[in-house]
Structure formats: C-alpha cells, structure tokens
Homo-oligomer: 472 residues x 2
Amino acid sequence: MQTEEIGSEMQLSTGIFSCLCGWFKALIGKYKDKVLELAKYTKKIGKDDPRRVIHSLKVGLALTFVSLFYYTRPLYDGFGISAMWAVLTVVVVFEFSVGATLSKSLNRGFATFLAGALGVGAQHVASFSGEKGEPFLLGTFVFLLAAASAFSRFFPRIKARYDYGVLIFILTFSLVSVSGYHVEKILKLANQRLSTILIGGATCIVISIFICPVWAGEDLHNLVAHNLEKLGSFLEGFGDEYFRISESGEIQVVSKEDKSFLQAYKSVLNSKTTEESLANFASWEPRHGRFGFRHPWKHYLTIATLIRQSAYRVEALNNYINTNQSQAQSEFRRKIQDPCTKMSSESGKALKALASAIKEMNQPSLASPFLANSKTAMNDLRTALQGALSDATDLLEIIPDATVASILVETVSFVEKILEAVTELSDSANFKPADPLGISMEKQVVPCNRGSVRPISDGDIVITIHEKHESK
Amino acid sequence: MQTEEIGSEMQLSTGIFSCLCGWFKALIGKYKDKVLELAKYTKKIGKDDPRRVIHSLKVGLALTFVSLFYYTRPLYDGFGISAMWAVLTVVVVFEFSVGATLSKSLNRGFATFLAGALGVGAQHVASFSGEKGEPFLLGTFVFLLAAASAFSRFFPRIKARYDYGVLIFILTFSLVSVSGYHVEKILKLANQRLSTILIGGATCIVISIFICPVWAGEDLHNLVAHNLEKLGSFLEGFGDEYFRISESGEIQVVSKEDKSFLQAYKSVLNSKTTEESLANFASWEPRHGRFGFRHPWKHYLTIATLIRQSAYRVEALNNYINTNQSQAQSEFRRKIQDPCTKMSSESGKALKALASAIKEMNQPSLASPFLANSKTAMNDLRTALQGALSDATDLLEIIPDATVASILVETVSFVEKILEAVTELSDSANFKPADPLGISMEKQVVPCNRGSVRPISDGDIVITIHEKHESK
C-alpha cells in the first residue's frame, strides 16, 4: 500500500511537473506572441507616419543636449541646480509640430518672466508687513491669483491659445513668491531659472525647426485637401455603386479593399478637433515653404466646416447603398440613373480638382467645368423627373431612388459652396493661376523648395487625376 | 505779427489740448466699455456652470495649503527646497473633474516612483564605468529612454490613458539619473521629492473628491441623456414645423428663442472628443453616488455613437425646413402629413423617454410604446404612399416630401438601435425597473443620497414629461 502511495505520489508530482512545464511553455509562447504582436504594431505606427520616429529621436537629442549642462563643469558651476529647469522645459515643451512647440515655448517663456516679476514684487510688498503678516499676505496673494488664473482657463479663447501659459504663470508665481520667504538671493535664483528655461526652450525651437520640421500649417493644408479627396472619391464612385448593385438585384461580394473609398469619408465626420488645434498651432508658426507669414489659416476652417457638412450628406447616401440592395430595377430608376450618376461623379471630380488645387496652391478654376457638368446633370434629372411620373407604378418603390437624387442635389450645392470658399482662400493666399495641363512649372523647377522626399510625384499625381478626368 | 503768432499758437495748443482731452475721454470710454464687457462675459462663464467658480476656489485653496510647507518652519526644515515639488504637483495635477485629477495624480505618482528607481539604478550602473565613461553612458541612457518614451506616446491607448505618466517618466528619469552625477545624497533627495509629490497629489485628490466634487462619469451620463433630449426635442417639433411652414406657403417669422430646439442638436454633431475624454476620466473614478465601481462607461460611448449618427439624419431633415419653405400644399403632402408628423413626434418622445430613463437610471421600458407608435405611423405612411401615386401631378413637387419621409423612416430605425443600446446599458448597470407613474420611490425616499442641490425637482421633471406625453 505504501509503494502504491509513493507511486501515485510520484505520478501526481510528475503530472504536476509536466503540467507546470506545459503551462510555462504556454506562458512563454503567449508572451512571445504578445511581444511579436507589439513589435509589429510598433512598426506599423512608425510606418504610418515616419515623422514619428524622427520626432522621438529629436526629443532624445534635445534632452541629451540640455543634460550636458550637468556634465560640463563650468556650465554646471554657472547654473547649479537650476540646470534642472532646462531638462524640465525640454520634456514639457517639445511637441510634434513646430507650431505646438513654439506655442508652448513662448507661453512658458513669457509666463515665467511675467509671473517671476510679479512674484518678486509680491514678496517685496509682503516683506513690509512684518514677520507674522508676511506669510498671511503671501498666502492671500497666492490664493487670489491661483483662483483667478484657474478661472481664466475656462475662457474659450484663453483655453485655446494660452492655456499652458496660464498654468506656468500660477506655477511660477507661487514658487517665486513663496520661496522668496526663505531664499535670500531670490533675484539671482529667478535669473538663473529664467535663463535655463530660455536655454531649454531655445533648444527645442531650434531642433524642431531645423531638423526635419513638422509644420502644423502644412499638416492642416494637407488634411483639408485629403478630406476633400476622400469625399470626391466617394462621390465619383457612388453612382456606379448604387445603381450597379440595384441592376443585378443582389449584393455583389467585392473585397473590402476595393470598397475602401466608400468608407474613407467616415474620418471626415469627426475631424473638427484636429483641424482646430492644427489651425491654432499653425498661427504660431513663422513663414515656411510655400506658406507666407500671414497665411489665412482660418479660411481652412471655413472650408473644413463645409466639407464636414457635405460628409453628413455622404453618410446619408452611404446608408442607401447598404439598405437598398434588394430592389429590382424599375423603369423610373432607369430614367434617373444616368443624370444621377453623372451628377455624383462630376461633383466628385470637382471636389478632387479642388483638392488638387489646394495641394498645388493653384487657383481652383479647373473645378468649375466639373461643377457646371454636374449642374447640367441636375437639369437633366429635373427633365427626367418631369416625365417619369407616368413610369412609376409604385411610389414606395421609387422613394429610395428619389431620396438619393434629392440628397445628390443637396451635395451639388455644397460643392458649389466649397468652391466659393476655396476661391476665397486662393484669393487671400495669392494662389497662382492654374495651369490647364496640370503640371505647374514652378513645381518642376523648384521641387527641392520643400525639402520633400518625393519632389516629382506631386506633378505625377496631378497628371493622373487629369487623365482620369479625361478618360471617364 | 508776433501777437498774432502767439494767438494762433495758443489757439493751436488749446486745439491740441482739447483734442487730446477728447481722445483721452474716448480712450477711457472705450476701455470702460471693454472692461464692462469683460466683466459681463466673466459673469456669463461663471453662470453657465457655477462649478467653474468653485473649481477655481478649490485650486486656490489647494495651492495655499501646500505653500504652508514653506511658511511652517518644522515642515520646511524637513523637506527643504523639495517642498517646491508639492506646489508644482498641485498646479499641474489639479483638474476640473475628479477623474482627470485622479488620472494625472496616479500617473504622476507611479511614473515618478518608477523613473526615480530606474534613474538611481542607471546612475549606479554608470558609476562603474569610470569618471570619463559615466557621462557618456548616462547620456546614452537618457537618449534611448527619451526617444522610446516619446515614441510610445504615439500609441493611441497610451496617449489616451498614460500620456502624462510617460511625460513625467522621461522627466524624472532624466533629472534623477543626471543630477545623480553631482548630488551625492541622491537617495535622500529622491525620497524627499517623491514624498512631496505624494503630498501634493494627495492634497489635490482629497480636495477634489471631498469639496463639491465634479465627477466626469456623472457629466458623461448627463451629457448622453442631454444629447438624446436635444434630438428628441427636434423630432418632436419637426413634423409641425415642416408641414406648418408649407401649409401657409410662407416663412413664418418666429422669435429665435422659440426655434432654439431646432438648432440645439448641432452641438451633438461634434461631441465625440468630449465624450471620449469624459469616458476615459470616468474609468479612473471610484464609485460615487449612483455609479458603482465597474459602471459600464463604454456603453455610453456606444449610445453616443448612435446618437451622433441620428444627428446626421436630423441635420439632413433640418435642411429641408430651411430650403423647402416656398412650396404650396399639394394633395400628396396632405396625405403623408399625418403619418410623417406622427412618426417624427413619436420618435422624439421615445428619445426623450430614453433620455429620462438614463437620467433616472430606470429601465427604458417606457420608451417602447412610443417606438411602437412611430412604427405604426410608418406603416400608415406606407399605406398612404401606396395610394398616393394617383394624387401626384408632378414628381418634382413631391420629391422633397418623399425625401423627408424617407429620412424619417431611417430615423425610426436609429431610435430602435438606440433603445437596444440603452437596454444593454440598463442591463449591465442594473438600472431599476421603470415606475409607470414616473415617480420612482427611491428618488423620493433618498433624495439626499446624491447631496444634490435640488433633491425633489428630478421627480418633478419626470412628472412633467409624462404629463406632456399623455396630453399630446
């Protein structure tokens, strides 16, 4: 019986052991999978926008540079523990785009200076009130200014542009006025602190402007053009998509990638916050590349609002692709199919022409013919509708088609509004006249102007678009 | 001649003087106006949300409290210059809602601890490499970790929840590892720094939780309910609005305030960012009031997405109120008017019932009858349409009406989806069964549970809504 027990015990422990082993292997396998997955994801994030990798290296560089102040004996002796503020400034102030970095640096610099001066003044005033009165007076100052500053951050305009400045203002004022109570050489300290902050801020600004700069303005410019293009692609393809599905009377299984142009517009619906912060940062940036000092960034927001409103209509249209797949082809549909498809595709082309006009900074005149075409199609639709009543057998059947037609008409009016807004932008930013061949001379002669990675492909894209326009 | 000159000079100088006087008065007047305007605006911002004023006072209080460390001799002797970190922490960490404050405090606390430990370790390792090798090794550490951390902030999940933590991690690691090169008593310093940060963070947390707390979770809860209500009000009034204008065939001038319910939905279109950040902060909050520890905050985002999608349809409907004002009443319109108005108003009532169910945390069963009514109206519309073809004389004339009807049908399907989503929320958050009388017992018995300012009015609102439902 004892042997049996030992045997079963051994069996049990072998069981546990092999079980543990298996578990351990599974654990390693699981973690290996997770690590591999993470690596893949990291690579994807870097590939999606390689500027991210460069930004990370720039942060590392800036931080290593300011930490030299600690290592280098004469510099450290000059600044002492205050050198810390340079490190702190770099970490907090270095942002992805030049505009954001400038906005934070300038906010931090001015706020520190102002609050430092006020803090020294407050400390000086408080020092007259005797040893007992001083902390009370200082405490009152801190309380009042902190409360007022905290409240001022609820003002939308301050929140948008000076939020960080106000934060640093409270911070510095409290620190200076309060530490003045103990540190005698407060002026020297304030001076050291300010200069190290300036050094940190300047390091960030220089690195962010001169090493592969990321301009918020250019991002906004491209984002707006890109969003226009997304809507354009949708509208260009919508007519075929809607009527083709209906023709065959069944859902055609097409790979998801082919349909991506039908979903791309969804990101436009929620781009408001991004656009607004980019426009804000852009207004801090100096002139760069193709953008002058007072480039009308606000106009982009106007265009973006109109784009978003069109996107809401596109969302409604998209719904009809999805819900309206089982209907058979009616006589009515056959009549409106051509004008609707044309209206949609010409509006799409107009939007794409506007997108390329913005991208190339050309006057948007090339979009007008497309808009005119879609208006002609709108009139054709009107004529078709006037004669279509006799063909309709069942109102229920024609209502989805009629709705699509109606929303398309709305979309055309939005395209017109967008054209107007882009023309306004073009006027106030002095866009150059459009070259009807689609290859702007300037682009070809000064491609290195932007320090871009692919100097010729821009021209290529324009040609492609135009070939498409012509061939359709 | 001399006298003349003097006379004209005097005239001139009097002229200049009076001119200056006038200018000065105008200047004062102008500034007075501006100051008055600013004062009015400030008052408005405070009135819009009185919690803002309280928040500002709380910030002042917290800051004054931690600056006591400077004034109080024994405390200052204990912490020295490190007391600064308490002030810094309060300024940077104190946010409007409890969730945001907690998120920042915890991020800051953990990141400081982790980075401090790593920094001490790095400094220790580097110290083995000799006087010359040490700065190089430390510089490499700083560069690598800074670049890696900066890159990690591009991961959407880290960006959403731990962005601030990563920032503080780089900051502390650089500071500790680098200042270790000079300061011998680094452990003591790190300890002081950590404890002052903890004191600052704890001060913020305590004040933000125990003095008039602002819960991000509650804000999200109310925001979603409020957005539902806005859409509900629009739909409730839309049918009358659309058909009444058309009936009389002219634009009726009504004061803007009366029409505000037609515009209120616009804020819903762009609420995504706010909702997401509130849901993020809410997930940091402990259980409070009616919200348990694992309250399903993510469900609110699902509902919010559906609400936004309905808002896009409402935007399309709204366009028809604006563009479709000059049409005379057709026979066709007369036929669909009743079912459309009913569909719209019953959907609106359903949404409002859902809003009040969320607000009161009741199961959303009271909304079902309204949804059923609007579905009945949808069938009525179908019948009306089947017979309406003979009444139509011109397709062009009926298309706007048909489009409105079609979008309303879509809206009903969204209301159904929202009902499902709210039911899911209600199931996972254990909402209590709805009281058909609209006065929940719990509300009446434990009104002080929430420490709310108006404990009974909630019940009142429900009654009002129900009376409305019945009377219409």
